[in-house]
């Protein structure tokens, strides 16, 4: 039980650290290029990554 609690803390701690590290190293997000809330009907095709993409 105690071991699982340590594992949970390590897991969530590692995820939080990763997000903080990534936030610190990534370029600042430019809000002027914010995409429309809903892609459907926006006329903008998604350029995001997906597991179905071969490249």
């Amino acid at each position: 039980m105690k071991r699982t609690a340590y594992l949970k803390s390590a897991f969530w701690g590692a995820l939080a650290l990763f997000l903080a590290w990534d936030h610190a190293r990534a370029p600042r997000i430019d809000l002027r290029f914010e995409p429309p809330l809903i892609a459907a009907g926006s006329g903008q095709t998604s350029t995001a990554g997906h597991c179905a993409l071969p490249k």
Binding site: T4, D22, L37, A40, S46, A48, H50, C51, P54
Partner: protein, 362 residues
């Protein structure tokens, strides 16, 4: 941990996303939370459903999954025709798909969770799945790096049912395929009466997940995916550690992938829904008894190795149960239909390995 602090943390992250990233990413995080809460609340496990069908001749999980696919297709296919900016989960049938789907089906039984299963169980605090997640990410990353060599073995152009037959034709073909799968499952199970093949938990899970998958498509412009986000996280770490040069990789040197690798992970669609799924599952698990089980050192080793192979093979197969099966089939990609029997064949072997190492008794 109680649910209120978790809900407060999720709300805080939602606020940060709205304020600092985009309303769309915040919406996708909320959709991810819904997916995680549904997967965990309904215990909607793709792996368990297949295992129950084969081992216990219990078709309820597979019927639930067929309902999910049918409802998601019903919502997605007309939208793909109506809004040309929405993309289907089209992937090319290839040698890599054959090998990857088979290995994925095999290892998901050992690891006791597919892509979404690993995520929601890790969120719920199941020790093996928490341990698997980083290895899944590493495997997914390595799969993406090797993908060009796998594709060189043989690949054809993606086939989209909606493009070929229109929404109505694609829906008819999809429903016919799903009905055939359900009939086969019921015949194998030998069940009589709907109570033994239709379960309320699987049903409400299927309805909610289908609605959320369609919502994901409408908001993100692309179907629900899991694996890409995992590979991205490992690629970021490998690049930062200077052990990997994205420019030398066919996959990561593509302009779209290179840009996603460079920018904040909070801007990535798949990553943000993955984080939402973890948060939603954590919220459901809060206050309930731990679902963890005691494993031996050998079982841990086998389970972690299976998680790594699962990540690698899901990249070769162009998705896991979510990206290839749910999103592929519901948006009319032929690769989803090829993925299912290959992964099911792998599952038949995986169940033997699972039994050999005593996972069922654990």
């Amino acid at each position: 941990m109680r649910r209120l602090p978790i809900a407060a943390l999720a709300a805080a992250l939602l606020f940060v996303l709205v304020w600092n990233v985009s309303v769309r990413q915040a919406a996708l995080f909320a959709i991810g939370i819904g997916m995680g809460a549904t997967l965990a609340g309904a215990r909607f496990g793709f792996t368990t459903g297949w295992r129950n069908l084969i081992v216990a001749r219990d078709p309820r999980g597979v019927v639930g999954q067929a309902i999910l696919l049918a409802l998601a297709a019903l919502g997605s296919m007309p939208l793909l025709v109506q809004f040309p900016e929405l993309k289907a989960a089209l992937a090319p049938p290839s040698v890599s798909l054959v090998v990857g789907a088979f290995l994925f089906g095999l290892t998901m039984q050992i690891a006791d969770g597919c892509g979404s299963g690993t995520l929601y169980k890790a969120g719920m605090g199941v020790p093996l799945n928490m341990g698997i997640l980083p290895l899944f990410a590493l495997g997914s990353f390595l799969g993406s790096v090797h993908l060009d060599r796998w594709l060189a073995l043989g690949v054809i152009e993606p086939v989209g049912l909606v493009d070929h037959f229109g929404a109505a034709g694609a829906l008819v073909a999809t429903f016919a395929g799903l009905a055939a799968a359900v009939v086969l499952a019921l015949a194998w199970s030998g069940v009589k009466g709907h109570a033994s093949w239709l379960d309320r938990r699987w049903l409400w899970g299927a309805v909610l997940l289908a609605a959320l998958a369609v919502l994901n498509l409408v908001v993100a412009g692309q179907p629900w995916g899991v694996v890409y986000g995992f590979g991205l996280w490992a690629a970021k770490l490998a690049t930062a550690a200077e052990v990997f040069d994205p420019a030398a990789s066919m996959f990561w040197s593509q302009p779209g992938n290179a840009e996603i690798l460079r920018q904040s992970v909070l801007l990535d669609v798949t990553s943000i829904t993955n984080i939402g799924i973890l948060a939603g599952a954590l919220w459901v698990a809060a206050g309930t008894a731990s679902a963890g089980r005691q494993l031996t050192a050998v079982q841990w080793l086998i389970g972690l190795a299976a998680g790594f192979v699962m990540g690698y093979s899901s990249r070769l197969a162009f998705g896991c149960n979510v990206g290839a099966m749910v999103s592929g089939i519901s948006t009319g990609s032929l690769h989803g239909w090829l993925w299912v029997p290959l992964a099911f064949a792998g599952t038949l072997i995986g169940l033997r390995v699972r039994r050999r190492f005593g996972f069922d008794a654990a």
